[in-house]
C-alpha cells in the first residue's frame, strides 16, 4: 500500500459517499465526478492507462453530463422539499453494510495475500487494438450493435410523443 494509493482511495471514497449522501441532486453528481475521476486515477496507478482515460471520457465527460441534464429536465419547483431518503432507508443501509461486511471478510480471509506485485506489464495501446481486432472482434461488433440500439432506443423513449399528435 503506497501513499498515492491511500490518497486516491480516500478521495474516491469521499467523493462517492458524498454523492450518495448529499441532499442536492446536482451536488451529488458533482461529487460523483470526483469519485469517478478517483477511480480513473487508480486505474492509471495500476498501469491501465487506456482504461483510465476511457473512464474519464465516458464517466466524467458523458455519464455525469447526462445525469445533470436529466436532473435539470426533471426538476419540479415544488414548495415543500421532498425527503432525500426513501421510506425504507434503514433496511437499505443495513443490507449495504452487511454486504460490505461479507465482502471484506471474504477479501481479508482469502489467500490473495500470497501474491506480490508482478513487474510492470508493458501494455501499449497498439496491443489493446490488436486484441480488440483479433481475439475480441466478435464482442467488439456486438458492442457496436448494442451501442447503436441503445442510441436509437434512448432517442425513441425520450422523444415527446405528444408533439407528433399536435
Amino acid at each position: 500500500m503506497t501513499i498515492a494509493f491511500i490518497i486516491l482511495a480516500v478521495i474516491t471514497v469521499a467523493g462517492t459517499a458524498a454523492a450518495m449522501g448529499m441532499r442536492n441532486a446536482v451536488h451529488c453528481v458533482l461529487a460523483l465526478t470526483v469519485g469517478f475521476a478517483g477511480v480513473a486515477a487508480i486505474y492509471l496507478q495500476l498501469d491501465a492507462q487506456f482504461v483510465g482515460l476511457t473512464q474519464i471520457m465516458v464517466y466524467v465527460g458523458a455519464v455525469a453530463i447526462l445525469a445533470v441534464f436529466a436532473i435539470m429536465m426533471t426538476h419540479s419547483p415544488s414548495p415543500t422539499k421532498p425527503p432525500t431518503y426513501s421510506s425504507y432507508w434503514l433496511m437499505g443501509s443495513i443490507v449495504a453494510a452487511a454486504v460490505f461486511a461479507v465482502l471484506a471478510w471474504a477479501v481479508v480471509s482469502s489467500g490473495a495475500h500470497t501474491q506480490s506485485l508482478p513487474s510492470e506489464p508493458t501494455v501499449s495501446v497498439q496491443q489493446i487494438g490488436d486484441a480488440l481486432m483479433h481475439r475480441f472482434v466478435l464482442p467488439l461488433e456486438i458492442m457496436g450493435l448494442l451501442l447503436t440500439a441503445a442510441l436509437i432506443g434512448a432517442v425513441v423513449i425520450a422523444m415527446d410523443h405528444n408533439e407528433e399528435i399536435k
Binding site: 460523483l32 454486504v99 486484441a131 441503445a150 423513449i157
Partner: protein, 103 residues
C-alpha cells in the same frame, strides 16, 4: 495487508456505497448512479486482478473493463431516457410515489 487486498477492499467499499445509494435514495436518477457505482467497483476488481494476476499480457481484465464501461454508458443513456419518459408521465422522479402499475 498487501496491495491486492487493499484494492479489493476499496472496490468492495465502493460497491457497498453504490448499493446503499441505490437502496436508500428517493431520486430515480441517483439510484441509477448508484448502480453505475457498483459497475465501477466491479471494473476496479477486474483491473486489480489483471494487474496482480499471473498473465497480464493476455489483457483479459483490461478488455473486460473496456466492454463493461461501454455497456455502462449504454445503460446510463437508456436508463435516463426511461426516467425522462416516466417523469413526463407521472411528473415526478420520486421512487416512493411511482408505485402504481396502471397509468
Amino acid at each position: 495487508m498487501n496491495s491486492l487486498q487493499s484494492y479489493l477492499l476499496l472496490s468492495s467499499l465502493l460497491f457497498s456505497i453504490g448499493l446503499a445509494g441505490a437502496l436508500t435514495r428517493r431520486n430515480a436518477i441517483l439510484v441509477l448512479i448508484g448502480i453505475e457505482l457498483m459497475l465501477n467497483a466491479a471494473n476496479l476488481n477486474f483491473i486489480a486482478f489483471w494487474r496482480f494476476g499471473p498473465a497480464p499480457a493476455a489483457l483479459t481484465g483490461v478488455m473486460f473493463a473496456i466492454f463493461s464501461i461501454s455497456v455502462a454508458a449504454a445503460e446510463a443513456a437508456v436508463g435516463l431516457a426511461i426516467i425522462l419518459a416516466a417523469y413526463r408521465h407521472s411528473k415526478t422522479t420520486d421512487l416512493d410515489q411511482m408505485n402504481s402499475l396502471k397509468g
